[in-house]
Amino acid sequence: MADPFPEVRPNRLWGLSRLVPHLALFAAIIALWEVSVRAGLITSIMIPRPSAIGAAIVDLYFVTGTIWPHFFVTLTEAVVGFLIGAGIAIALAVGSSLSDPFKRYVTPYAIVLNVTPGIALTPIIIAWFGFGMGSKMALAAVISFFPIFVNTLTGLTQPDGEREELFRSLGASHVQIFWKLRVPSALPLMFAGLKIGLTTALIGAVVAEFAQATHGVGVLMNRFSFQLNMGASIATLLSMTLIGLILFYTMEFLDDRTVFWRREERRAAASRARARAWKRRTGK
């Protein structure tokens, strides 16, 4: 998806002064919500009071600590599933980019996998891999596969004729062309795919937990909402958001570190570090 907020990053002080109206608005919304639920304008079964959600969060995280095992189970399922899916996707994409026949053999199956909603496989995957964490990882791997595969393949095969000609005329080997030209120019797209894949992996883990599981935030969510304990179920939903944010920003951080040449300040930092290392090595 395209970036809807194309803005220059403001400096820190300006950002701080801009934070105040945001916080005020947030507080106002919460207050209005609380008041209207208390006054009976909104049924508390459909939308609970913010204070009830807050109380549930405190209870789940700090008083009883019920959520922690579930939280880590889901996080592990999503991450392991994502790693499996991404590993297969990247291996197949690299193979397809290196060999045309290989690509022709892989693509039709990848496309079939793409148009089938991966979620539909949930019951079958549970029958295959059981009620435990294995089935959740498998579903996460299946549905995170395609965005990563497509983005990596597109990145690796995007035509870059002039640069490739330069590499060839300087006598670069195939291996050098692959590592120094193809991979660096594919990385930004690849990371975009990995970000999408990571979010989908979380969805896969949670949906598989809805279907059948013993542990995980999905189970907790199902349990609370069927008890009509809406405060706790929204608190669980917010924990899923938290997992999503943790995963997303980890990826964003890795992206920032790996594809350092795309952002000005990161590039400056990386080249300063390289200059220091160079000086140390040459002893100057």
Binding site: A120, I124, S233
Partner: protein
């Protein structure tokens, strides 16, 4: 590339490259299916988990023509998909343009969008079922929610990311706001919005399945669930391949729709509409 050149240089058999390729791929596909069939028959693959391809074909025949029970479930699920998709994408486009054209709202809504983006939106399904009760309305609400986001974000970014230089040109030539919207913003935003719609419709198909997995009364999702619970894997696979076909049709349908609506983004669409306009103009000139 190299392979094509070589095979073009040496016409070994009378066949074209494309023909031979189709044969090779078909051969490999048939070999895979045969290996699967043999593996399942000899007990190498557990038929409980990997049903024989012939059994899958047989249950295709059964659920479509003998019993014909899949039609009703397909009808229910697709009805929900399109209802939820229409509602969700209209809401998404409306809110997206509202936010996009108003820079103050945009600034304040940004953190909420980020939080919403990180939440697995399908996860709200049990909550919505608890709030709205069992039945079609909660399913449609789930699909709506799943469909809402992609059109919203894409409309927003399509409206916001207007080419600055073009905008300046428009303004300096004294274009009205309406003209800027119709002749500059929309032509650039509509292809992006259509891309969002495509994502949304795919998401809608997943959304209906999740809704039906949780609320197992009718629809293709509950059919898959029931078949798997009964360990009737062949029929479950037949349902999944049905969804592959549905997914493919949806994909193609959206592509055709994209060519119709955002015709200026495609070579053939441009040619078609150009010819149409030329004909209309010629008629006008005659009159």
């Amino acid at each position: 590339m190299a392979a094509t050149a070589i095979s073009r240089g040496m016409p070994r058999s009378g066949m074209s490259t494309g023909m031979r390729r189709i044969l090779t791929h078909g051969g490999i596909f048939v070999a895979l299916i045969l290996a699967w069939e043999v593996g399942a028959r000899t007990g190498f693959l557990d038929p409980l988990f990997f049903p024989k391809p012939s059994a899958i074909l047989a249950s295709f025949w059964r659920i479509y023509f003998v019993q014909g029970n899949i039609w009703y479930h397909l009808y229910v699920s697709l009805g929900l998909v399109f209802a939820g998709f229409a509602a969700g994408s209209i809401l998404g486009i409306a809110l997206g343009s509202l936010v996009g054209f108003n820079s103050l709202v945009r600034r304040f809504i940004k953190p909420y969008v980020i939080v919403l983006e990180a939440t697995p939106r399908i996860a709200v399904a049990p909550l919505l079922i608890a709030a709205l009760g069992f039945g079609a309305q909660s399913k449609i609400a789930i699909i709506m929610l799943v469909c809402f986001f992609a059109p919203f974000i894409n409309t927003l970014s399509g409206v916001v990311n207007v080419n600055e230089e073009k905008l300046e040109l428009f303004k300096s030539l004294g274009a009205s706001k309406m003209q800027i919207l119709r002749k500059l913003v929309l032509p650039e935003a509509v292809p992006v919005i259509m891309a969002g719609e495509r994502l949304a419709l795919t998401a809608a198909l997943s959304g209906v399945l999740v809704a039906e997995f949780i609320q197992r009364d009718q629809g293709i999702g509950s059919l898959i669930l029931v078949y798997t619970r009964n360990l009737n894997m062949a029929s479950a696979f037949a349902c999944i391949f049905t969804l592959t076909i549905v997914g493919f049709l949806i994909f193609k349908g959206m592509e055709i729709l994209d060519r119709r609506i955002a015709f200026w983004n495609h070579e053939d669409g441009m040619a078609r509409v150009g010819a149409l306009r030329k004909g209309r103009w010629a008629k006008q000139a005659e009159a």
